[in-house]
C-alpha cells in the first residue's frame, strides 16, 4: 500500500497561488525598490494633490456663491461641539475635585466631631468629679464645723475641768480648815 497522500487539487492550487503571489510581489519589490520609483511616486502624489487643491478651491468658491455649506463649514461646526464637550469634561473634572475635597473635609470634620465627642465625654466626667468633690468639700466643712464644735466643747470641758479642779481644791482646803476650827472650839 502506498503511504503517499493522494494529490489534493485545492491544496496544489493553494501552493501554486502562494508561489505566484510571492514571485509577483518579489518582482514588484525589485521593480519599485529604487530612487526613481520613489521620486516618481512623489511627483504623482504632488500632481494629485495639486489637482485636488484646485478642485477644492473651486468647490468652495461655488458653494459660497450658491450659499450652501461645505464640508469645511460642517467641520467647523463639529469643532465647536467638540470644544463644548471638552469644556463640559473640564467642568466635570472640577466637580470631581470639589467632591474629593468635600469628601476629605467631611472626613476631617468627622474626626473633629470624634475629638469633640471625646472632649464632651471628658467634660462630663470632670463635671461629675467636680460635683463629687464639691459634695466631699461640703462634707469636710461639716466635719470641720463639727470638729470646731467638738473643739469648743472640749475647751469648755477643759474649763469645766479646771473649775472642777479649783472647786475640788477649794473643797479640800475647806475640809482642812474645818477640823482646825473644831479644835479651837474644844480648847475653849
Amino acid at each position: 500500500m502506498s503511504t503517499k497522500r493522494p494529490n489534493d487539487r485545492y491544496d496544489s492550487f493553494k501552493k501554486y497561488s502562494e508561489l505566484w503571489e510571492k514571485q509577483i510581489n518579489d518582482f514588484i519589490y525589485l521593480w519599485s525598490n529604487n530612487n526613481e520609483f520613489v521620486k516618481m511616486s512623489n511627483d504623482g502624489s504632488e500632481a494629485h494633490s495639486r489637482t485636488l487643491e484646485i478642485f477644492r478651491k473651486n468647490q468652495e468658491a461655488l458653494a459660497s456663491v450658491l450659499n450652501i455649506p461645505t464640508k469645511n463649514d460642517l467641520a467647523n461646526l463639529a469643532s465647536l461641539t467638540i470644544q463644548t464637550e471638552e469644556k463640559i469634561e473640564s467642568l466635570e473634572e472640577q466637580i470631581w475635585n470639589l467632591q474629593d475635597s468635600v469628601k476629605s473635609q467631611s472626613k476631617e470634620i468627622e474626626s473633629v466631631v470624634e475629638v469633640a465627642k471625646e472632649i464632651i465625654k471628658l467634660t462630663k466626667q470632670l463635671k461629675t468629679e467636680l460635683m463629687k468633690t464639691k459634695k466631699e468639700q461640703a462634707d469636710s466643712k461639716d466635719v470641720q464645723r463639727e470638729l470646731q464644735e467638738m473643739k469648743l466643747e472640749l475647751t469648755k470641758l477643759n474649763n469645766f475641768k479646771d473649775e472642777f479642779e479649783i472647786l475640788k481644791n477649794l473643797i479640800e482646803k475647806g475640809k482642812q480648815v474645818e477640823p482646825a476650827l473644831a479644835g479651837v472650839d474644844s480648847a475653849k
Binding site: K4, F13, E21, S32, N42, H48, N72, A75, E85
Partner: protein, 355 residues
Amino acid sequence: MSVELSFKDLVSEFDYEKEMNRWKHVYQLLNEPEPKIGHTPRTEVWRKNKSVLWHYPAKQTKYRIPLFFVYSLFNKPYILDIAPKASVIEGLTNRGYDVYLLDWGTPGHEDKKIGLDTYIQKYLKTAVKRALRHSDAEEITLVGYCLGGTIASVYASIAEEPIKNLIVATVPIDFSSFAGPEKWAEGLKNGDFNVNRLVDVYGNIPASYVEAMFRAVSAPIYFSHYTTLLNRAHDQRYVDKWRRMNKWSTDQVSFAGEAFRQLSNDFFKENKLVKGELIVGDKNANLKNIKANMLVVSSSNDNLVLESQSLPIMDLVSSEDKTYKLVDAGHVSLALTGLLAVVVDEWASTRSNPL
C-alpha cells in the same frame, strides 16, 4: 527504489460530502452579509468626540490592578475581542482581570488637526484617569498593541498617573529599520517623498489609502488568502474565522491628518522617540523616564513590525523589572488567536496585586 504512481495517486478521490460543504460555504460567503462581531459583556465608561472607553468586568475579580488596552490608530480594536474563545479580552476577564479598552473611533473631517500629542494628552491621559476613578484602583497596567504600544510608551514617559506595569506587543519604537523596500524608507527619510501636501489636501488620510499603504509594505498583490479559503472551505470553523479576519483586515479607519504628519516626520523620518527628542505638549517624552515594570512581546513571523523595531526599547527604559518575550505568531495572529491573553496573564498575574 522506483516508485510507481498511478493516476489514482495523482488525483484525489472525489468526496461528495466534503465538496458539497466546500461550495455551500463559498456560496454563503459570497451572498451572506458580513459576520456580526459579538462582544464580551461591557459598559461604556466615558465618551469624548469619537473615542469611547469601555469596561469589561472580570468574571471573578482576582487582581486589584486593572488592565488598560491602547490599540493602534490604524485599525479598529475589535480584533482584541473578535470571537468567543479566541478573544484576548474575554481570556483576560475569565482570568480575573478588569479590562478597559480605549477605542479611538474613526476621525472625521473636523478631527484633521488632532495630532499624536492631542491623542495622548487629551484622550489617553483622561481615559486613564477615568479608568482609575471607575475601578477605584490605585495603580494601572497599560497594554499597548502595535502603534498603540508606541502611543502607550510615549504616554508612560510623561504620565503623572500611577502606571505600575507597561506591556507592549508588536510595537514599533525604533524607526531606523523598516519592513518595506529600503529605498522607500530612504526616500521618506531624505525628503524625496513628502506626505505633507497630501495630508493638507485630504485633511485625514482616507481608510483606503491606509489599507493600500500596509498592502504596499507587506504584499502589494495578495490573493493567497482566497485560495487558502477555497482549500479549507469545507471546514465551517475555518470559514467563520476567515470571515471575521477578512472583515477586520478590510475594515480600516482613516487616520487623522496631523497625527499622520507627526508619525511620518517625528517618528519615521527623524526617529525622535529613540533619540529622546520627542516633545509632547511642553514635556520631553524620553523613554528613560519609564520606571514601570515592563514586558515587550514580539512576534517571530511579524512582517509589518520587525523585531529590530521593538527590541531597542529594552535598553531605553529605566525599568528595573523588564522582560522581553518572542512568541511564535504573526503581527495579527497574536491577537486573533487569543495568545496575547496567555502571555499577558503569565507575566502580569504576579504584578497585579492579587486579592
